[in-house]
């Protein structure tokens, strides 16, 4: 009896193990498949039919409107909106997982601008034909951010650039005519403003310096504004230069001299907004989305009507903003690529961008829309934002963006907290970035 029951148990265990092994084998088989289809752009866009549009949430409903319009006109090529989680990390993970198993579920991908290189180099998105986007009508930086090694991989959907918020009332009180254009001018302006009795306890400037993607943004802007760059066109790191040192020193000295509030190393966009809104800082670098809450007249903002905007400061002239925003790209694993390409053209057209403007505050990629008086009346920051975007540069365009931004954050954070001096931090950053780009 015992004998038999043991046989049974062995049998069961073996079955379970064999099943497990089989599953693992099939899983392995999936990853070990042979080279992907060659990236032949023109020939590849074939097949019409229903597709899925995978994107972050659009609370304004503007994207849904565009999709409805498309669906009404193309009943046989319907587009379904698949919503991804709010966190950008999770979006990226889901998109990559789908690409790695070559799933045909995701057809059109909504990608953060910093993911372009990674997705393009891994062939998770297809190179687009030249005529996919009217590049000459778009802000050059947005097209640049959708390009990997001189090939267009995405169609700019919306964009974002830095704005420099300043307290116009305090500038006037101190007798300063124009907002500062350089860091030196800003320092001089602060010296005058902070001498006023009503500014007791205020600090001069803040950006976002918590160990986060926002620090990469602020660091890249400081380096670019000082004439340096984080990586060159080939993706080779270039942070061990005099310009980069000058850029990082702007931030390091800001903390050392008490120009920034001491708790700014915990600031993200939201904390910076509060500090400015509660009258703790004179100048603030932040994104345009703050504009609405800062100008709220319901009493929540102490600075409503008392602030102005301009481009961020540089060392010798206006600074260089980094670029935010999103691009649309086509997955090579979807069946209906022709539809996907047509949909992207439709969705990112100037006409649709203009229609979406009535609902969504996301900044379009088309320069002409920023000068439309009807739009400017509703969004007064658009002309300044266009100026900022015209002078903008993408964040480091590298394949291993995740590791790159982490290395930048670590070393920049060590420098601004005084744990390392600027030279050591930049040398370490250069070494780390070189190691990452060599992989």
């Amino acid at each position: 009896m015992r004998q038999r029951s043991r046989t049974w148990q062995t049998l069961l265990t073996t079955t379970a193990l064999v099943t497990a092994a089989a599953v693992s084998l099939t899983a392995c088989g999936g990853t070990a498949q042979e080279p992907k289809a060659s990236a032949n752009a023109a020939a590849a866009f074939e097949g019409k039919g229903p597709i899925n549009y995978v994107s972050n949430r659009d609370a304004s409903g503007a994207a849904n409107k565009s999709i409805e319009e498309w669906n009404a006109a193309h009943p046989d090529e319907k587009v379904t909106f698949i919503e991804l989680p709010d966190s950008a990390d999770q979006q990226r993970q889901q998109l990559i997982q789908n690409a790695q198993i070559k799933s045909d579920t995701f057809s059109v991908l909504n990608l953060d601008v910093v993911w372009t290189s990674e997705f393009a180099a891994n062939k998770w998105i297809m190179p687009l034909p030249e005529d996919a986007v009217p590049a000459d009508q778009m802000i050059p930086a947005t097209v640049n951010a959708a390009t990997y090694r001189d090939t267009l991989f995405g169609a700019p959907y919306y964009t974002d650039g830095a704005l420099f918020y300043f307290r116009s009332d305090l500038l006037r009180a101190a007798g300063i005519a124009a907002p500062p254009k350089t860091w030196d001018e800003m320092k001089a302006a602060c010296a005058k403003i902070l001498a006023l009795p009503e500014t007791a306890g205020m600090s001069c400037y803040t950006g976002q310096f918590d160990k986060n993607e926002a620090l990469t943004v602020n660091f890249s802007e400081a380096v670019a504004s000082a004439g340096g760059s984080v990586v060159d066109a080939e993706g080779k790191p270039t942070v061990n230069t005099a310009e980069a040192k000058k850029g990082l020193n702007l931030l390091v000295d800001g903390f050392k001299d008490g120009m920034f509030p001491s708790d700014a190393i915990t600031y993200l966009e939201e904390q910076g907004r509060r500090a400015f809104q509660d009258g703790k800082v004179v100048f603030l670098r932040n994104w345009p989305f703050l504009y609405a809450s800062l100008s709220a007249t319901d009493g929540s903002s102490k600075v409503a009507g008392k602030f102005g905007i301009t481009s961020i400061p540089g060392t010798d002239g206006p600074g260089v903003s980094t670029l935010g925003g999103r691009n649309l790209a086509v997955s090579p694993f979807t069946a209906n690529k022709a539809t996907a390409l047509e949909f992207i053209k439709f969705f990112t057209s100037e006409e649709q961008a203009q229609k979406r403007l009535s609902l969504s505050s996301r900044a379009p990629a088309y320069a002409s829309l920023y000068e439309d008086p009807a739009v400017v009346a509703k969004r007064p920051f658009f002309p300044t934002l266009l100026e900022s975007l015209n002078n903008a540069q993408p964040r480091p365009k590298v394949v291993q963006y995740g590791a790159t931004t982490k290395a930048i954050q670590e070393e920049a954070y060590a420098a601004i907290t005084g744990e390392k001096d600027t030279d050591t931090a930049l040398a370490a950053m250069q070494a780390k970035l070189e190691e990452i780009s060599a992989k």
Partner: protein, 344 residues
């Protein structure tokens, strides 16, 4: 398996009505083993699929490393190479080794410190709740609130409390940067974690306290034992099995701590980076090999702690020894009545 075989002898205690045909002592009837195996097979299959397979898969994955490079056109040339134990060897050398040891230290530090504080606090909570007073049921319900709040949400709540102009700094009159790198961030995590999980220990211990019969305390009072003596000689020994289970659960939980430091302090902050966060970060960067290696090491760590706890301290996780306290109690009751008789 021990779980399922344990009740068997209990059912066959001789003299139990309703089992007339069975000879006492014979453990299995013909076909019983086969029947048991068949009944268990769905469970085994599910266990194999959800536990054994992922485990084997992770170990398998940890032996490989993605060796990607860029070709002349800037495209990734992919290839996964078998590297044997190199991913594990890397845990102890260079930059990755430094991060691993830091995360390992943080994990251990958080586990020891939070579980210790939680146990003390949980015990106090249980003692407070065990006494009869007005509004006791209200207190019991309200004490559960922190435990009921999802960890990510409590992480956000505490993030607000601990931000530079938050209520913590206002009340302390300090300017501590709780969410920046440094000792303060460790302290913030410990405070939030203890706040959240002390009620768990409290309630488990309370449940254990409530099965202690009242007459034990009455007898102690008659014998002239004070509150401290009652606590040390009755409450704590009798509540120990429950307490050990609670502490074990909390330790296993704390060892895989992820969401609280992630939300409260933020990813990538080395002061609070735990092993789970490190594994997440590695897999986020598509280095699945080393991510699996971290995960396997964490798994082994958790397993060792669990085994040590069960073997050395005799934690009764499965309830197999539940009978023992009852017997002891009966014995004690017996001795007490004997004593009572003797004194009479």
């Amino acid at each position: 398996m021990t779980v399922t075989t344990a009740p068997a002898p209990r059912n066959q205690t001789p003299g139990k009505p309703g089992t007339p045909g069975k000879k006492p002592g014979k453990s299995r009837t013909p076909g019983e083993g086969r029947m048991a195996a068949m009944l268990l097979s769905p469970t085994l299959l599910v266990l194999a699929l959800v536990i054994v397979y992922p485990l084997i898969s992770a170990i398998h994955q940890s032996l490989f490393r993605a060796e990607s490079g860029l070709d002349a056109d800037g495209f990734v040339t992919e290839g996964e190479a078998f590297v044997g134990l190199a991913n594990y060897a890397d845990l102890f050398v260079g930059e990755s080794g430094r991060r691993f040891l830091n995360a390992f230290g943080n994990t251990t530090f958080f586990t020891v410190s939070t579980v210790l504080l939680e146990t003390v606090l949980g015990l106090c909570l249980a003692l407070a709740m065990n006494r009869a007073f007005r509004g006791r049921s209200f207190l019991r319900a309200s004490i559960l609130v922190p435990w009921a709040v999802p960890t990510a949400v409590s992480g956000l709540l505490w993030r607000w409390i601990f931000q530079s102009d938050g209520i913590a700094n206002t009340m302390l009159g300090s300017e501590i940067l709780w969410t920046a790198e440094g000792t303060a961030s460790k302290l913030a995590v410990i405070i939030a974690e203890v706040w959240k999980t002390a009620p768990f220990i409290g309630l488990l211990v309370l449940a254990g306290m409530q099965i202690i019969p009242e007459e034990v305390y009455e007898a102690a009072k008659i014998d002239g034992a004070g509150w401290w003596r009652q606590l040390g000689s009755i409450t704590l020994p009798l509540v120990k099995p429950t307490l050990l289970v609670a502490v074990l659960f909390r330790m296993l939980d704390a060892l895989r701590m992820f969401d609280l430091p992630f939300v409260l302090i933020g990813p990538g902050k080395e002061s609070v980076e735990t092993l789970s966060m490190l594994a997440w970060d590695e897999s986020n960067q598509l280095r699945y090999g080393s991510a699996s290696a971290f995960a396997v090491v964490l798994f082994l760590y958790v397993a060792v702690v669990a085994i040590v706890f069960v073997k050395v301290l005799g934690t009764d996780v499965t309830g197999a020894n539940r009978l023992r306290p009852v017997k002891n109690r009966q014995k004690r009751k017996a001795t007490r009545s004997q004593k009572a008789e003797a004194t009479r």
